[in-house]
C-alpha cells in the first residue's frame, strides 16, 4: 500500500504499555460519542486490521509466516510486530514465493500502521476530531486546496499544484466538462455512510462533483485515532479504498487533525 507517509520509528519497548494507557484514557472520553454504524472507529489505539484468509476486520490475528530454512513460525499481529520487523530486517523472512512475499508485506504494513498509530503516547491529549462524522464527511471539509473548495468560485484553483497530500488522486476524477453544464450541489460532494458516489472534476475555477447515485467509487473503510505527530492533539487516520469496476487498488491513508472545535482539518506534519 502506498501512502506517502514516513516510515514510523521502530517499535519502542514501551509501546504496549502506552497503548494500554491510551486505551483507558480515550475510552472514557469517547464512550458517549455516537458510534457510527458502518466503519468502525477505534479510539483506543488498536488499529483495525484485516485478517488474512478470512478478511475479517480484527484487532489482532495469528498468521504462519515462512522463514528461511523451510521453517515456519506463527506470529500474532500486532503483538509480535517487533519480531516481524526484525525478521524482515535480518532477511530471515522467506520471500522466495510470490504469495509469501505478499503475505510478509501485508504483515509488515499492518505492523507499520499499528506502529504509526501508536508512535506517540496518549498522555495529555486534546480531542477535536472524534466528534466529526467522517463517514458522512463533506469534501469541502477535507484538506483539498481551499482555493478549490467545491461549489465555490475561486480564481486560484490549481489542484494539481496545490494538493500536496495526494488526496485528489484517490478520488475518481472526470474529464473537464462544459462550465455550467452540470453543477453539483455542495451537499452532493460528500460521503454517504462511508461511500463516495460519483466522481470529481476540476475546471478552471473549482473542483466540482459529478454525482452518480448508483455508482460508489470510493469507500472509507476505517477511521482510527491516535496522536501521529505527537503534538498533543488527537488525530484521525482515515483509510480509503477505491471501489467499482476498473478501480485501481491503491488505498489512501489520510491523517487529519484540527486544533480547535469546528476548525479546519489539516494533514498533520511529520508525515
Amino acid at each position: 500500500m502506498t501512502h506517502g507517509v514516513q516510515q514510523a520509528a521502530p517499535y519502542g519497548r514501551h509501546g504496549a504499555f502506552r497503548r494500554c494507557a491510551l486505551r483507558t484514557l480515550l475510552y472514557g472520553c469517547l464512550a458517549c460519542l455516537p458510534v457510527t454504524a458502518a466503519a468502525r472507529t477505534v479510539h483506543d489505539g488498536a488499529a483495525l486490521l484485516v485478517e488474512p484468509r478470512s478478511g475479517r476486520p480484527v484487532e489482532r490475528y495469528a498468521v504462519d509466516l515462512p522463514l528461511s530454512g523451510q521453517r515456519q513460525r506463527e506470529f500474532v499481529i500486532p503483538d509480535d510486530c517487533a519480531a516481524v520487523i526484525d525478521a524482515i530486517e535480518r532477511r530471515s523472512a522467506d520471500k522466495t514465493r510470490v504469495l509469501a512475499r505478499r503475505l510478509w508485506r501485508k504483515v509488515g504494513e499492518d505492523c507499520w500502521f499499528d506502529g504509526y498509530l501508536n508512535r506517540h503516547p496518549f498522555t495529555e491529549i486534546e480531542d477535536h476530531v472524534s466528534d466529526y462524522d467522517f463517514m458522512n464527511a463533506r469534501l469541502a471539509d477535507l484538506p483539498i486546496d481551499r482555493d478549490c473548495a467545491p461549489g465555490e468560485q475561486h480564481t486560484r484553483c490549481q489542484p494539481a499544484a496545490t494538493d500536496p497530500h495526494g488526496v485528489l488522486r484517490h478520488f475518481p476524477l472526470s474529464e473537464p466538462i462544459e462550465p455550467g453544464d452540470r453543477g453539483a450541489q455542495a451537499t452532493a460532494c460528500a460521503l454517504r455512510d462511508g461511500l463516495f458516489y460519483g466522481s470529481l472534476y476540476v475546471d478552471a475555477h473549482s473542483i466540482r462533483c459529478e454525482p452518480d447515485a448508483g455508482r460508489a467509487s470510493l469507500r472509507l473503510i476505517a477511521v482510527d485515532y491516535g496522536d501521529v505527530d505527537g503534538n498533543g492533539f488527537l488525530d484521525a487516520v482515515l483509510r480509503f479504498v477505491p471501489i467499482g469496476p476498473g478501480a485501481a487498488r491503491s488505498p489512501l491513508i489520510l491523517p487529519l487533525s484540527r486544533t480547535r472545535p469546528g476548525g479546519p482539518f489539516f494533514v498533520p506534519g511529520g508525515m
Binding site: 466503519a39 478470512s54 475479517r56 476486520p57 469507500r219
Partner: protein
Amino acid sequence: MQRLLLLFAHRPWIWLAALLAASMLAATQLGQLQVRVSADDMLVADDPQRTFHEQVRAAFGEQEVVLLVVEDADPLAAERLERLRAVVDALAGLPFVAGVESLFSVPHIKSVDGYLDKQAYLTSPPTTAEQARQLRAAAAANPLLRNVLVAADGDAMAVAIVLRKGDRGVDDRAVSQRIDSTIAPLRALYERVYAIGYPQVRDEIAQRIFDEQRNLLPLAIGALLLALFLLLRQLLDVLTPLITAGVSILWTYGLMGWLGIPVNVLTSTVPILLIVVGSTEDIHLLAEFRRAQSRGEQTAAAIAHMARKMGRTVLLTFATTYVGFLSVGLSGIEALSQFGLIASTGLLFNFIVTVIFIPAALAIAGRWRLDGGRRAFENARADWPERLWRRLCAHRRHIAIGVSLLVLVAATGFPRIGINHNPTDSLGADSPAAADLAHLEQHFAGLESFSIVVSSGIQDTFLHARYLNEVVEIQRFVQQLEPSASVTTFADYLVLLNNAFLETDDAGMPQSNEEIAELMLFLDHARVSAYVTEDFSRTRIVVRHAITDAKRLRTVFGAIEEFIAENTDAGLAVRITGDSLLTLSATRSMIEGQLQSVLLILTFFVVVVSFFFTDLRVGLVAAVPNVFPIIMLFGLMGYSGIPLNIGTAMAAAIAVGIAVDDTLHFMLRYNQELRTSKSQRLAMHNTLREEALPVVSTSIALIAGFLVFTQSTFGPVAQFGLLSAFVIATALFADFVITPLLMSSLRLVTLWDLLTSRVRQQVIPQSPLFRDMRPWQIRKFVLSSTLLEFEPGEAVYRYGDDSAALYLVMKGVVEITVPRRSADGREPVVDQFGSGQIFGDVAVLADEPRKTNAVALTDTTLMVLSREAIANVTHFHPFIASKLFLNLARDVSCRWVSFIVRVRSPSGETTEEDRKA
C-alpha cells in the same frame, strides 16, 4: 479327434462320473462369485491417457459425488430449509461420506461495509420472499454454483455429497440405500427429491443384470428347447445342449469364483454365449448320429459314424470360435479382457463337456428314441435340395443383383451408426436412475466431466495475470461451445474476490499480478486445490456436462484442441483428460477389439477352408457369406438408430462366430461330398440335404432364444437379442443361397480328385519326378498339370513341334523315335517310357523344338506339365521347383547313362567295366 470321441463312448459311466465330480467341485466355488459394475474396468489398462489422468487425479484430488436434488417453487422456505439442514448434517455423518457441500456451507463471498464476508449463503435463512429471491439470484450468479448446486432457473438446488475415496467398506447398493433413507424426510416437503450419482447408476445396472439373468435367461432357454423339440423331436437331442451348456456354465462360473473374477456387464453374457454356440455343435453331432441310426446302424456303429464324419469338423469349428473369443482377451480394457478369457475358457469347457458327454450319453441312451416322432423335413420331399439348387441356378443373376443391392443399401447405413458409451442411456425410459439423470441434466450441468489441464512447469505461473487470462480464454471458448455445461476454473474464485473487494458484480479478473497476489491473501489454497496445484504451476478447467454421444464429444474435443493450438501461449502445455475422454478412448478400443476379433475369426476360417480345398480362392469366397451378415448387421444398426455399444459390438463377434460355424460345417461337408462324388452338382445336392436339418434347426432355435431378449427393458440386452437374431437369420440365408452359388462358380473338383486311387498311391509317389517330395508338394505340382488321353499309334508330339511341355506317363507306353528312316523303313527307337516315367523334358529345358517323335503304343494317359506351369512353380514355389529340377537332372542323367551303355553294348548287356564304373 475321432479316437477321442470313441474313447469316451467306450466306458461311458466313468466319464460321466468324472463330469459329475468336476461339476461338484465347480459348484463349491459359486459362493465366491460377485457381481461388480465398475467404470474403471471399462477403461483401457495401459492407455497413456489413463496414466495422465491418474496423475491429474493425484495432483488435484478426485471426488466421487452424489447429488441430492430438491425442487420446489419455493425451495428456500424456512420450514423446508430447517429440515434440509438437518438432512445435510445427517448425510455428513454417514461413514462413507467425506463431506457435504451445499448452500449451507459454500461461502457467499461479498463485501460488508468494505470488509470481506465469507459466511455461507444460508447461514441465516431468508425471512422474506424477496430475500429468498435475492439469495437464489446471488447463488445463480456464482459460476462455481450455477448449474452445479443451483439451477439457472432457480427452482432446483442440489447438495453435493462427496464420497470417501478408496475402499468405503460398503458397496454401491448400500450407499444408495443409506442415502435414500437419510433423505426420505424431504420427500414430504419438496415437490421432487432424489439422489443421483454413479453409485446409483451402477447399482441399478447391476440389479438389472441380475434381474435379466434371473428372468430372461430361463425364458430364452425355454424358447430354444421348445424350438429344438419341435424340429428334432428327440428328447435326448433337446436335453443334450441344455446339459452340456449347463455344465460348462457351472464350470465357468466356478472358475470365476475361484479366481475372483466378477460378473460384470460383459461376463454376464457368457451363459448365453455357451448356450448359443455350444448347442450348435451338439445338434450337428446328434444329427449325424441319428442319420446313421436311421440307416439301420447299431448304436456303436452310429457313434463311430458320427465320430468319423463330425469329429474333425467339430474340432475345427471349436478352434475357430475359440481363437476369435480368445483374441478379445488381448484387449487393453480389463472388462473386455476378462470377457475374452472367460468366454474362450467357457467355450473350451463346453467343447470338453460336449465331446465327453455326447458319446457317453449316446452309448448309454442313444438307442432310445424316446418319442419316436418324426423330425422336421422328414415329411418333405426328398428332392427339395435339387429343387432349391435349380431355383438358385435359374435365378443366379437376380440373386446376385439383389444381394449386391442389399449390401450397397446396408453399407450406406454405416455412417449413420452412432456410438454410445454411456451406460445410463441403456437403462430405458422407465428406469428411476435414468429419469433422475434426465431431470438433473435439464436443470444442472450433468454427471459427466472432463478437465483441461494447463501446465507450465514453473511455479507461481498461474499467479500471473497474463497466464490466468489464457486459461480464462479457454474457459470462455468452452462455455460458448457448450452453454449448458458448467465450466469452472481457479480464476472464478479470483473474480468472486475481486467483485467483493471492488463491491461490484462485474469487476472481472484482476488485471495485474499484484492484485492477484493481494486477493490470494484471502484465499486458502485448500479451497482451490481442485483447480490449481500448490506451487501454482498447473491448473485445470473443470467441465461438467451431459454429452453422451461419442461423436459429439469427439467434435467438442476437436474444437477445443484446435482453439488451444491457435490461441494459447506455446510455453503452456494444455491437455484434455477426464472420464469422458477415457471412456471415448475405451469405446474406440472396444470397437477396434471387436473388429479385430471378427477379423481373426474370419482369417482363421479362410485359412482352414483354403487348406482343405488347397485353394485360397475357395477360402476367400467362403468368407463372403460370413461377411454378408456383418454388413447387414451394421446397416440395420445405422438405419434403425441402434448405437454401437458394449452389447451391440458383442453381437457382431458372437454372430460371426455362429455364422462361421455353420459355414464351416457346410464347406467341410461339401469337401467330403466332392471327394466321394467328383461332381460339384451332386456334392452340393448332398450337402444341402445333410446340413439342412442341423443348421436350420439350430438357427431357428437360436433366433427364438435371442428374440426373447428383445423383451428386456435393459437397452443393450434387448438390442443384443434383436441384432443377434437378425444376424443368425441373415447367416442362414447366406449359407443356403449365397454359399452354394459362390461355390458353384469355382472349379473345386481338381485334377487331384480325378486321379484314381491307384495312381495317387502308387504311380505318383514312385515316379522319379516326385522323388523326395512331400505329398502336399506333389499335390500342388499335380494341380498345375492337365491330363491327356492317347490311343495306340497316336502321336504325342512330332519332330519340329514346339517343346512346350514335359510328360509323365500315368498309364500306358510311349515310344520315342528319331525321324530318320532306317533300311527297313522304321524309325530308330530312342527309348520307351512306361508308367511313372518322364519324357519330353530335355527339349523343354533346352528350349529347342522337338528332335524326336513320341507315339503312344497303347491306350495311354499322360500328365502334361507345360513350360508355363513350370515357370509358375519356379516363381511361386521355388522350394518345390528346386526338387523338381534336381529330379529332372537325375532322370536325364540316368537316361543319358543308359543311352551310353546301350550305344557301347547294342545288345544291351552291361560289361564288367561298366559295372565297375
